[in-house]
């Protein structure tokens, strides 16, 4: 029998307790022993919770009980769970967490601290999809060429509605908030930060590369307009908030931003609140993983998978996928080294010669236009929507700055990268 303490009994914590009880027979058959949620630690004992378990607001009750075999950290936040997890690992107690923020900041320290003590975190990325498992074990023979993920269900829900139903950003944000898909302050989701935390975890498993959220390119979906949607539809693209890890030589690009992507790509077919991750390995080619990225039961499914794994075999794979550090020296790429196709949205005065001047600004930066759509906007300005051939991020940024300063460009130009 394995006795589990649950630290944090919110949506996910309650689901973990309930599933361990509901599915106890099949879990015991798969794990080889009974797994019993024994105590839950909460901040507020007065709050009503739909669980049948002893609750306490004193974490010491867990640490003072030598019969506890494993700690499941589901409290959220960073520094407080960090202290608790460190304390557990120092005592050699196996830990399972779903805490992406904790790992985005402290994964390497925690790996060192854990040593031979099992420390698992499947639920921290893409909820119920076993992507940590797939990347760390299933694809371990491969150099990973790229990971492209739809890792934030809130953004994907909003973008899907914007594209399929023509709803605008402000409307759909309100709807997502009403449905509980988006927070009152939605920045963490729509700004790309949640997805970035998850990307950093996957990048460690794929490349053994350490980086913090502050180190990487993160752009959100706040500025996507109906004109961008129109351009996407015209040219068989969809728009997704994509997390991208890409190996170019010994440089690893890590970035989160909206992209135009062909509707024919498998990852482009991941709609609504669902998550998806496409991984390209140098030997296996593309594999893709799809499923619910959030929700109590889906996330708990991944948490319990880790608990069962630890019950089955103790310490399994190395936490972040590498037993020894790689000899190859991989470094984080500067975002200015990105080379891709770009989409630009320019609001311009509708008069002769303007297009020529814009084309010449782009030409000066070695940027050539691939597709273009011009139409009037609601204020009798002209909207110029265009995509470029492959060019350099640095050049695009300089061109955007130059364009913004032109007198007949009447609003800050918008740029969205195109993922080939």
């Amino acid at each position: 029998m394995l006795k589990i303490a649950i630290i944090g009994v919110g949506t996910v914590g309650s689901s973990v307790i309930n599933i361990l009880q509901d599915n106890k027979d099949i879990i015991a058959a798969r794990a080889g022993c009974e797994i019993v949620p024994t105590i839950g630690v909460v901040n507020n004992l007065d709050k009503k919770r739909e669980v049948n378990i002893k609750l306490t607001d004193n974490i010491d009750e867990v640490f003072n009980d030598d019969s506890i075999d494993m700690i499941v950290e589901l409290m959220g936040g960073i520094e407080k769970p960090y202290e608790i997890v460190k304390k557990a690992l120092a005592k050699g107690i196996p830990v399972v967490t779903a805490n992406k923020a904790l790992l985005a900041y402290h994964r390497y320290e925690l790996q060192d601290l854990a040593g031979d003590t099992p420390f698992e975190y499947e639920a921290s990325v893409a909820g119920g999809i076993p992507i940590v498992n797939a990347l760390r074990e299933g694809l371990s023979a491969n150099h990973i060429e790229s990971i492209k993920g739809i890792l934030n269900g809130t953004c994907n829900y909003m973008l899907t509605k914007m594209i399929n139903e023509g709803v605008n950003y402000e409307e759909i944000l309100k709807e997502a908030q009403a449905l509980g898909y988006a927070e009152a302050d939605p920045t963490f989701d729509v700004g790309g930060f949640d997805a970035a935390h998850k990307l950093l975890i996957l990048a460690s498993i794929a490349y053994g590369i350490d980086a913090k959220p502050e180190d990487i390119l993160i752009e959100g979906i706040q500025n996507i307009s109906k004109h961008d949607i129109a351009f996407a539809k015209e040219f068989n693209y969809t728009i997704k908030l994509l997390t991208i890890a890409k190996k170019i030589g010994n440089e690893i690009q890590l970035r989160v931003h909206p992209v135009f992507i062909s509707i024919n790509e498998m990852i482009a077919k991941v709609d609504g609140v669902m998550n998806g991750i496409s991984v390209i390995g140098d030997k296996v080619g593309e594999t893709m993983y799809y499923g619910p990225g959030a929700g109590g039961n889906a996330t708990a499914s991944a948490v319990i998978a880790n608990i069962i794994d630890i019950a089955r075999k103790g310490k399994g794979s190395p936490m972040l996928g590498f037993e020894k550090s790689l000899k190859q020296d991989l470094v984080l790429a500067n975002p200015n080294t990105i080379e891709t196709n770009y989409y630009l949205r320019l609001q311009i005065e509708d008069k002769p010669g303007v297009l020529a001047k814009i084309a010449s600004v782009l030409g000066d930066k070695n940027i050539s236009i691939e597709k273009m759509l011009q139409k009037p906007d609601e204020n009798n300005n002209a909207l110029l929507l265009l995509s470029t051939h492959i060019c350099k991020e640095k050049d695009i940024k300089e061109a955007l700055e130059a364009l913004e300063n032109l007198s007949y460009v009447s609003a800050k130009p918008a740029m969205i990268r195109i993922e080939a």
Copy 2:
């Protein structure tokens, strides 16, 4: 250092050897030790192979060499590899195999024989997709409600071409043979037997249920006509050869057959030679896995993932996913208990009263029509293409027999199940 013997150096065996050599640095970093392909066993030493390894045609060279740490069985067939794997496991040598036929017939005996000796088989199902890993470890908290798989790339390639390009079955079979996607005798693929082998392996992991190919419903794609394709297009279906495992109460349906399936289902978007598996767990909901189901490098990627897992942690999860047998008594369902929507293709004489008689035959069996399409065929017969509301397999079969015996039904009626 881990020394590996490769039994069978064909397409997959050669890829395993080459990848272990090409990617040896990253594999060593992930595994914690060097993994060295040491000897290959072949039938014909004279055949040219693109590998840099010692070859022998004498398997005893492997068994007499105590320095061999692991055997990788990639020879194909059933009884000969069975003897070799049994001998290895009896000596306590870890085994990795990609042999689905071996497992379709002998997986439980091999699990018993293996005991604490690692015995893995990720590559036996869906090539490079780590579906064994996902189902056995990633979804272990769940009762599995269903598994729907596109597990045969040959059939999926053919059906995709038939639907997207209007090519007929005979033409596309010839093309698939020319491209090397289909064998000279294509029965094993197009008849559904290859997919059935893989389904049986997944069903063991999901349900702990033993069955042989002979025990389950297997139908191939040989009888799909352009009229069926037309019906699919008319009603927003696509046609896939689907492997289905479904839990209804304590009965497990295991079946392989073509289905009509809505183009909006994620699994319906898996096209060409690619494989996909949709799994529904009672807690996680639907997750889906997509990737290359065949090919030397993709299959080798899965084989090597197993080798690395064994290097990392020795015996990992229980081979077929269960440490103890389940208390629940799951039994294989009789195919006659299937209840679903059905599609029928009837070739009938085009004269008054015929439709009424057909409708009455169906009505007598409690089968009601949902959608219908009638059109003339090339021989001035009428083609009646229809789908039914949900009804019983037993009733449909009896209705088909009754219809076949009607004088104005001029060819054997065809039936395809519709997957909701």
